[in-house]
């Protein structure tokens, strides 16, 4: 019984099988089915070792070469909008937003909606539908916030999802009046 040698790497298994059948002494047998104990692992041949090593090296090499590609696909931080730092914005004059109307505007890096409900209360939200990210709008005919993409509806006064597929309420922003102008800021 022998393991692999430099000169002969393929024959040892055959030898081992023969030995198993003839000698009934299977303790050194490299094939699991010929062993008395079921859970013993056969020793790795030099051939198997080299194959496994090659696969590991290939995987590592592949991983290393794809790393720069993955990193390259991430846009540099400079590409991310400077506008994302905005925390407060002047939207319009109070007189420009009569009761029962709404207005979409840009709040830094995202769209937002400002609403003056019929009881003259101001409400502002991130205009991003919580369903699949479409930009919502205030609909005067329904007096609520509406997403045209999948028909989601939100209550204008609370931002709560009231119809359609949206799973969550809109994210609220703070709206206040200063010197006759409406200022919206992060809540």
């Amino acid at each position: 019984m022998t393991d692999t040698t430099d000169n002969n790497e393929t024959k040892p298994v055959e030898t081992a099988l023969d030995e198993c059948e003839c000698t009934k002494k299977c303790s050194d047998c490299p094939t699991a089915e010929h062993k008395n104990g079921d859970d013993e692992v056969p020793p790795m041949t030099r051939n198997d070792f080299m194959r496994t090593l090659f696969a590991l090296v290939a995987l590592t090499w592949g991983g290393l070469t794809s790393f720069p590609i993955f990193m390259y696909l991430n846009p540099p931080a400079g590409d991310q909008d400077e506008h994302s730092k905005v925390t407060s914005i002047e939207v319009c004059k109070v007189a420009d937003l009569p009761p029962g109307t709404g207005k979409n505007f840009r709040f830094g890096s995202f769209p937002a909606v400002l609403i003056c409900t019929e009881d003259k209360q101001l409400h502002a939200y991130k205009a991003i539908c919580t369903h699949l990210g479409c930009t919502v709008q205030f609909r005067a005919d329904k007096q609520n916030v509406y997403c045209a993409c999948h028909g989601g509806e939100y209550d204008a006064a609370t931002g709560k999802n009231i119809a359609g597929p949206p799973p969550k309420p809109l994210t609220a922003l703070k709206a206040e009046v200063k010197d006759g102008k409406i200022i919206v800021s992060l809540a």
């Binding site: 993955f70 696909l73 991430n74 846009p75 590409d79 991310q80 909008d81 979409n104 505007f105 840009r106 890096s109 995202f110 769209p111 909606v113 205009a127 369903h131 699949l132 990210g133 479409c134 930009t135 919502v136 709008q137 997403c147 045209a148 993409c149 999948h150 028909g151 999802n161 359609g164 597929p165 949206p166 799973p167």
Partner: protein, 363 residues
Amino acid sequence: MVYNPIVSSKNSVEQFLKDRLPIEEISELAEKKKVPIHKHSIWYYMGGIAGILLGIQIVTGILLMVYYVPEINAAHASILKINSQVTFGWFIRSLHSWSANAMILVVIVHLFSTYFMKAYRKPREITWFSGLALLGLCLAFGFTGYLLPWDDVSFFATKIGLDIASKVPLIGDFLSHALRGGDAVSQNTISRFFMIHVAVLPAILLVAMGVHLLMVQFHGISEPDFFKKLPDTKKTYEKFFPQFFYKDILVWILAVNVLIILTMLSPWGIGPEADPFAAAPIGIKPEWYFLAPFQFLKMIPPMVGPIEGELAGIGVISLVALAMIFIPFYDTGESKTRSSIATAFGAAILIGAVVLTLMGALS
């Protein structure tokens, strides 16, 4: 015998190629293919029509790149220029859009006709997989190309599509972020989609199409069960080269004529330029081939038990896609019951998709 310089040169060229390429083996392989003639033979033309439409896509796509500018402030204007200022620009662009839509329709018809003729069974599983991959590629072409004109509908379609992708467990966020090139649909998205549309997808398509055609060539054209059961004396065939091929050419000419008539009667327009901060326009809908999943996601409630509605919806759509992929292993042709179940499943998917598409179109 009179010396004919044309015949002589032709012979020399033929000899030159014969000495260097396996011409005889190739022509033997081509001549081997025969087309069964039966009441459903018409469906055998679909693959060829898809092929000619792809050819139109490639030519018109290359021509569009002459004027199209993949830049956020210029993309919409460049399409307007192609549509209104460039001579025959409207024609090339409309032809590109019409043939893209027609190609997706023909590929879907091809898919279901092969499905119901059970052409996915052994030994044609690889043909089936590569065909599904080609349909996936067509949809990917549609999705990436749709954004390029940068009009309001295309902007929101991309936004929703990438948001749906982000819901895929584990890899969704990475995938949508990498495709979008950040958190918002922007210049990065246009650059990436343009690159994917004109370079990455065509390269993958060539490989998938090569595999698909090679498999068809290896296994020959599939015969439906009722035809296989006929006695040999009642089976009729025609040679692919040249008989069926000539008919194919006629069908291609017909298809191209229909396409040109559509292009002339209804040139493809363009919506207002995308404004990433404006509200989604009322009545916005995706292209017809995404209407079924669109309508399905619209109808699904916010929560399905403990799972978010859209995640459950994506799960169901993925399961249907997986079932379509693995159908050759389920319906191997050995069991009649399984065969009937597979047919019923295909019919349910087809009817469901048509109904959802109509509901989406009419809503």
